[in-house]
């Protein structure tokens, strides 16, 4: 099998427990503590992916979250298939199975790589310039081809069975990043007694300490200090440690979003565990200690597998015990690469050359390298690399030899280390809306002015080196604790011995690199030339350059590329970097799963299900439910073998001939109470309430400010100062909100109290000629005889001992009652009534029957007959509007000319010529049978039903000037041709209202 690049000892992996894993159908071995990337490198595998546009072979560039190239899919099973994961962040477990992406048929041989051959024809933005002819060709050919080439991994195809959890937390100090700065900050804050949350995206705390080879802190090896510090923090009850947790977003008022990964690293996770947990942390103070990101160098062939960030190779060596190659060429503009070279050299990797882009390579690290006999070449650049699927050579040339690439000397190697210096990780600071400042000395953006309660510490604000980071972190922790009210906080100081960090850096393309494939954004295949082309074409804003070339828009969001891109654009435009501007840092820092944000919300838990007290009874009696807002409402109760049509016909007949029972509990109910209740009602509703006596009801209508109908419902006046208001099911919250809005902001002087009582009352409608007979024997303390209790009245009493508000109202046109009882008794009372109704053939009915019955009577449904553009007059409710009231909500708007203009749509009935033809709700109404589109319809059908009572279909419609069209024949659209229908009154049944008292 493949070569073994594992060191003999050292590293933080557990060599006693080998783990088997698969990558693209081949089996390999690694150890606990490995990432997929380190395990592959240990096996000598560098080729792991293909780039987005040119499908170039790509390897592993980095060792962390900044990785642009090594994207893989991890597959547990098809439902647990996760694309686009960074191999550098995937923890190894026994049996892990990973696949490469964006290649076909195989990683080593990818047809898409012809794009690379043809790349000169595909510069930045090429697709804006072509594929325009012929018209349909874009959709038919070009777009499918572009789509197929793009896209990286593939989406999972089966529903994800895993669970996601969600929690909210508060703390005094949230520390983001558990490197030396973060640990020191957490220690300072915790020792002051603050409630601390410390999170880090990696599996282990320690950050750069995890790759420390020779440093000591407090006289101990760094690794020992780290273990002790973490143990110490873990013992503190007020400290919460969250490894594998990424702070991905910084929101207003110091709310930080954390994504914790709980099972992704386990071979066989306990199914009871959630996969991930979202933390929404509201912190008094935040310390950002997010470190820095090493910059690649921009030179031809810098993307070949085996070309790596210098510091990453140190991490692989020291943390994972992996040598990334056997013979390395080092190219650098920063001292840090010397450290990598020295340590690799010590581990037995041959260093072919260290090319330093600076004219002089001095300072302790270069000197140490020279002392160790490493070939240091100052003022030297790299002009290219060789190899296909893995780097095999690197060409170096003296900087002075202007532009002569052929004079370059190719050095054989299987590894190229590069370092362009370090970019402070200011993402979260920027997300917090803090203002960045360009530090000329560091040549980097660092946190400037803060706008939230946060501070940065260590490398993420340009403070480099172990000793400096520890001190900076400790000071930040102290300051944060103090600011959070722990005045006794003091910063620890740490005796620390470590090699220097060094200086240097470059942010641009290397000399001689134009005209060749020198990549800036690896994943999106953006070259230095692409950026220059963009500026040539007039894209001068950095946001334009980004969008035109797609630099910085890949899944790594430009972590390794943004500074180089800025540098190149700055040179191309001849303007200093700070004048170029900066693209916005957007949430999230690294990608977060949809699942973690959706959380436990799914199916039943997606939205609360509201059910009535009678719901279970309805279920037991075979009801079919419909969703109305969050409510489940019984739509009809099919008997065995019945479809909806037949069930509804039977239910309708029962109500008209005998009695039906209907669960109206979902109706909105508001109790309006207080000395000014009647005045308040007068202002909110169009109706006049002053003369409505206690014990009487009235149909109420609410308008919006613009004069259009907002809601309706029966209102009962229980007493001088007390109204029982009902609203539509969907309108309950809206009406209450409108009432509160006016009460609190417009009429605070009114003494009125509003209480939502929707869920306090179960409402049982008993409707039909036998309804009184059914209730007679049950009701206590109320005379329900017609004379004592006429239509539209309300009385309080009891039913079988249960306190009851009994309304005599009808939405069916029949004699009817609505029984309101406390919700807890709803089912019991329902069953009592049902029982008492048996001799009368009482029949449960649902919303569909309710709709048919009310439509036969021409009663409107707000939201069906009305759509927010109907006035009371439009739907024939002018009679409800109080004529003499000084004001009510919407009154002024009703006076506008357009609201009374002739030709407004009005509510009418429609009877099709064919009495059995059922119109579609929403169908349009035309004046003539063969009007061709485009045409202006006269109106539309709002309700359409089969009426069992009338033995034909009926419809309600809103038609322009409808009330003047009685008897006219109009034409209604169907899926085929328009059908004729006659305009009629909207009241189809019992227009005199005789049935209200028929018993």
């Amino acid at each position: 099998m493949s070569a073994n690049f594992r060191t003999a000892e050292d590293g933080r992996i557990d060599r006693s427990r080998p783990l088997g894993f698969r990558f693209d159908e081949r089996s390999y071995q690694g150890f606990p503590g490995d990432t997929l990337a380190s395990a592959l490198l240990a096996n000598g595998v560098h080729l792991v992916g293909r780039s987005f546009k040119y499908h170039r072979p790509r390897g592993i560039l980095s060792a962390g979250a900044d990785e642009p190239n090594a994207l893989v899919a991890v597959r547990r099973d098809e439902a647990r298939y996760t694309p686009n994961l960074r191999a550098t962040q995937v923890e190894l477990y026994q049996g892990l199975s990973a696949e490469s992406q964006n290649r076909s048929p195989s990683l080593a041989f990818d047809i898409g790589a012809v794009n690379d051959r043809l790349s000169r024809f595909f510069p930045a933005g090429f697709y804006y310039k072509t594929f325009m002819w012929p018209r349909k060709a874009w959709e038919r050919w070009y777009e499918p081809w572009i789509r197929a080439m793009a896209g990286l991994g593939r989406a999972p195809t089966l529903p994800d069975p895993d669970r996601y959890a969600n929690r909210f937390a508060h703390c005094d100090v949230l520390v983001v990043g558990a490197g030396p700065a973060g640990l020191a900050a957490a220690l300072s804050a915790a020792e002051a007694g603050a409630r601390v949350i410390l999170c880090d995206e990696q599996a282990e705390f320690g950050g750069s300490l995890l790759a420390e080879s020779d440093a000591t802190i407090e006289g101990k090896p760094a690794a020992t200090w780290l273990a002790e510090t973490v143990a110490l923090l873990a013992l503190k009850p007020r400290v919460t440690l969250l490894p594998r947790t990424t702070a991905f977003g910084y929101f207003a008022y110091n709310m930080v979003g954390l994504a914790e990964r709980l099972t992704e690293h386990l071979a066989e996770p306990d199914p009871a565990l959630p996969r991930e947990r979202l933390w929404q942390v509201r912190a008094r103070e935040v310390v950002l200690a997010a470190g820095a990101i090493e910059r690649p160098l921009v030179f031809p062939g810098n993307d070949r597998p085996g070309v790596m960030l210098a510091d990453a190779t140190r991490t692989y060596l020291n943390r994972y015990g992996v040598k990334c190659g056997s013979r390395a060429v080092v190219v650098t503009a920063h001292d840090a690469a010397y450290r990598a070279a020295l340590e690799l050299h010590r581990a037995g990797v041959a260093i072919a050359a260290i090319a330093d882009l600076r004219t002089a390579a001095n300072g302790p690290l270069p000197e140490a390298a020279r002392a160790a006999g490493l070939p240091v070449r100052p003022a030297t650049t790299i002009t290219g690399t060789g190899g296909r699927l893995r780097v095999t050579a690197a060409s170096l040339a003296p900087l002075a030899a202007e532009s002569d690439r052929r004079g370059a000397e190719p050095l054989t190697c299987d590894l190229v280390l590069m370092s362009g210096g370090f970019t402070p990780s200011v993402h979260l600071f920027s997300q917090s809306r803090g203002k960045l400042r360009f530090d000329g000395e560091l040549a980097a953006y660092v946190p400037g002015h803060s706008v939230q309660q946060e501070r940065s510490a260590g490398a993420c604000r340009g403070v480099f080196g172990l000793a400096a980071a520890l001190a900076d972190g400790a000071a930040a922790g102290e300051a944060a604790a103090r600011a959070a009210g722990f005045s006794a906080a003091r910063a620890r100081s740490f005796a620390c011995h470590a090699s220097g960090f060094g200086t240097g850096g470059i942010r641009s393309v290397l000399p001689n690199a134009h005209g060749a494939k020198a990549f800036v954004d690896f994943q999106n295949d953006v070259t230095a030339d692409d950026l220059v082309l963009a500026t040539r074409e007039g894209f001068h804003s950095i946001e334009h350059v980004k969008r035109y070339t797609t630099t910085g828009m890949a899944t790594d969001q430009g972590k390794t590329s943004n500074m180089n891109a800025l540098g190149i654009v700055s040179e191309a435009l001849g303007k200093p970097i700070p004048e170029i501007g900066l693209t916005t840092f957007r949430m999230p820092y690294t990608p977060v799963s949809f699942g973690i944000l959706a959380g436990p919300s799914r199916d039943e838990l997606f939205d609360p299900v509201r059910t009535t007290p009678i719901h279970d009874w309805a279920t037991a009696h075979g009801a079919v439910f419909e969703d109305v807002g969050q409510w489940k409402r019984a739509r009809y109760f099919p008997a065995p073998g019945e479809d909806m049509e037949r069930a509804v016909a039977r239910e309708c007949r029962a109500v008209r001939q005998s009695t039906g029972i209907f669960d109206a509990s979902t109706l909105g109910k508001i109790e309006v109470v207080g000395p000014d209740a009647v005045e308040f009602m007068n202002r909110i509703y169009v109706n006049a309430w002053s003369r409505l006596g206690a014990g009487r009801c009235r149909y109420g209508l609410v308008l919006r400010e613009d004069g259009f109908i907002a809601d309706d419902g029966v209102v009962g006046r229980l007493a001088e100062n007390r109204f029982h208001v009902t609203t539509t099911t969907g309108g309950a919250t809206r009406v209450l909100a409108q009432m509160e809005d006016y009460l609190q902001t417009e009429w605070p002087e009114l003494e009125v109290w509003l209480t939502s009582v929707t869920e306090q009352w179960a409402v049982i409608a008993v409707q039909g000629p036998r309804s009184r007979a059914v209730l007679e024997g049950l009701v206590e303390g109320i005379d329900i005889a017609s004379r004592a209790m006429p239509h539209m009245s309300v009385a309080e009493g009891r039913i079988r001992g249960v306190p009851t508000r009994l309304f005599r109202v009808s939405y069916t046109g029949e004699l009817g009652f609505e029984v309101n009882v406390p919700a807890d008794y709803g089912r019991a009372v329902w069953e009592e009534i049902f029982e008492a109704g048996q001799p009368h053939g009482i029949t449960p009915y649902g919303t569909e029957t309710m709709h048919v019955l009310r439509a036969e009577k021409g009663y409107i449904v707000v939201g069906q007959e009305t759509d927010g553009t109907a006035t009371p007059d439009d739907v024939g409710l002018t009679w409800a509007v109080g004529k003499t009231k000084p004001d009510f909500v919407g009154k002024r708007s009703l006076a506008r000319p357009a609201m009374r203009a002739p030709g407004r749509k009005q509510l009418v009935g429609l009877l099709t010529e064919d009495p059995h033809f059922l119109l579609e709700e929403g169908a349009q109404i035309l004046a003539a049978p063969n009007q061709k589109a485009p045409t202006k319809p006269l109106g539309h059908v709002t309700s359409s039903y089969r009426s069992a009572t009338l033995g034909r279909t009926i419809a309600l419609a809103m038609i322009a000037g409808g009330r003047d069209r009685m008897g006219e024949m109009l034409y209604v659209t169907t899926a085929e041709r328009p059908v004729p229908a006659k305009v009629t009154s909207p009241v189809f049944y019992d227009p005199e209202g005789a049935r209200l008292d028929a018993a």
């Binding site: 439902a79 697709y127 035109y548």
Partner: protein
């Protein structure tokens, strides 16, 4: 203007792409223009283009406080459709849709208009009634829209979960096949390049700070961060900032500005063939040519000019997305952002003359004006050039709110019973 074509691309490839010219100039503002457009979004740039191309006005400037296309044009989820309910709206949006169908060739810029179909899901009986009403009304208006059963909807969009088990099962869908998406940046750039070629000055980093009116009340000049510019005609097309700009002329607009958020996933291979929208549970999704799932999130509940959104808004959107597409839970959000949308009381735009002579306004497109870009631009140009509205935009006045002649597209969608 350098023509773009496959041939020119090949020719320039051989020259190492050194021969490409700037797609637009970066001119200094002149002292006076015949017309000034405020706001270099798609609408404003397009208006300048049509003014130059169809109305012969060449001395025009577009003033942009930031970079062109950086407003909502560059932030939206690019859903294009014209199946609006009312006759007036259908005419307006279909006017735009027809222009979209030839826009790439008109501008010689591939705006990647892709008629992959826009499907609106119905989850309740009420939704079904509303969408069927749309289907019938659109057909009468000559706008394509068809009804799909839940099974047909799934066939059209295979990742869609239609139930059972769904909290709000899919009962059907309205599909406009001519609807689709386009590349938003290309629309701004294409118009900018074409307008520039006709002599229009596009002046970026130039914020309008005041509007000067003469003694008779007519506009005379704008003051900007780059000096005063005289002009007799000002077309304001400033989206979320319209109220602020119009206040400079002393007009109070019937607008509220809200943050609206959107997000994209990491790119994946093509698997989502259309645009799917659910008004009821608030999910809007399509897949870009790059492979990202492009997802529209909701509007904040409160007015604000901050483009910084809160986490619960994208979280709620992803709840809905994962409910309808449960295999996407393991997909990952790559980028989230917001824009400020200007909303009218009836959710229909204002595209009109104003009571101030020489001042024209195009605004109120709210969450849905990208689809209107070519149409709005075309009609705004007409209105400015002729000092009167085109019949298509004649109903979209400011006065309709005073007079009660609203075109209430929101009411048509949002009321439940």
């Amino acid at each position: 203007m350098q023509r773009f074509s496959a041939l020119s691309l090949i020719r320039h490839s051989l020259g190492g792409h050194l021969g490409w010219q700037p797609q637009w100039r970066s001119p200094e503002p002149k002292a006076e223009y015949d017309a000034v457009i405020v706001g270099a979004g798609g609408h404003g740039l397009g208006a300048a283009y049509y003014l130059a191309k169809e109305h012969g006005m060449r001395n025009i400037a577009v003033l942009e406080k930031g970079w062109l296309g950086g407003g909502n044009t560059g932030r939206n989820t690019t859903i294009i459709r014209s199946n609006y309910l009312y006759d007036e709206s259908a005419a307006l949006y279909d006017h735009a849709l027809k222009l979209w169908e030839n826009l790439s060739r008109e501008l010689n810029y591939n705006v990647m208009f892709s008629q992959r179909g826009v499907m609106m899901l119905a989850h309740t009986v009420h939704d079904v009634q509303i969408f069927k009403r749309h289907v019938h009304a659109n057909r009468a208006n000559g706008v394509d829209n068809e009804w799909l059963t839940a099974e047909q909807a799934k066939e059209f969009c295979p990742p869609l979960h239609i139930g059972p088990g769904l909290r709000y099962p899919v009962l059907g869908a309205a599909l406009q096949r001519r609807g689709g998406t386009a590349r938003h940046d290309a629309v701004a750039w294409g118009y900018a390049r074409a307008a520039d070629a006709l002599g229009v000055d596009i002046i970026q980093n130039c914020e309008v700070t005041a509007i000067r009116r003469g003694t008779a009340g007519a506009v005379e000049a704008v003051e900007t961060s780059r000096g005063a510019i005289r002009t007799r005609k000002i077309g304001v097309s400033a989206a979320g900032n319209t109220s602020v700009v119009m206040a400079m002329a002393g007009l109070r607009m019937p607008l509220e500005s809200y943050p609206l958020q959107a997000l994209v996933s990491e790119p994946v291979k093509p698997m989502f063939p259309c645009v799917a929208m659910s008004n009821t549970i608030h999910a809007y999704i399509s897949q870009s040519d790059k492979g990202e799932l492009v997802i529209g999130a909701g509007m904040d509940a409160y007015v604000s000019y901050s483009q910084h959104g809160a986490l619960h808004i994208p979280a709620q959107t992803l709840e809905a997305i994962c409910e309808l597409f449960p295999m996407f839970r393991r997909m990952r959000m790559l980028r989230n952002w917001g824009g400020i949308v200007d909303v009218t009381p009836d959710r229909s735009p204002i595209l009109a003359k104003t009571e101030v002579a020489g001042l024209y306004v195009n605004c109120g497109w709210g969450t849905g004006g990208f689809k209107a870009t070519p149409g709005a631009a075309h009609l705004l140009a007409w209105t400015i050039a002729k000092d009167e509205p085109h019949p298509i935009n004649a109903p979209f006045t400011i006065e309709r709110f005073r007079d009660g002649v609203v075109i209430d597209e929101a009411a048509a969608a949002a009321v439940s019973h």
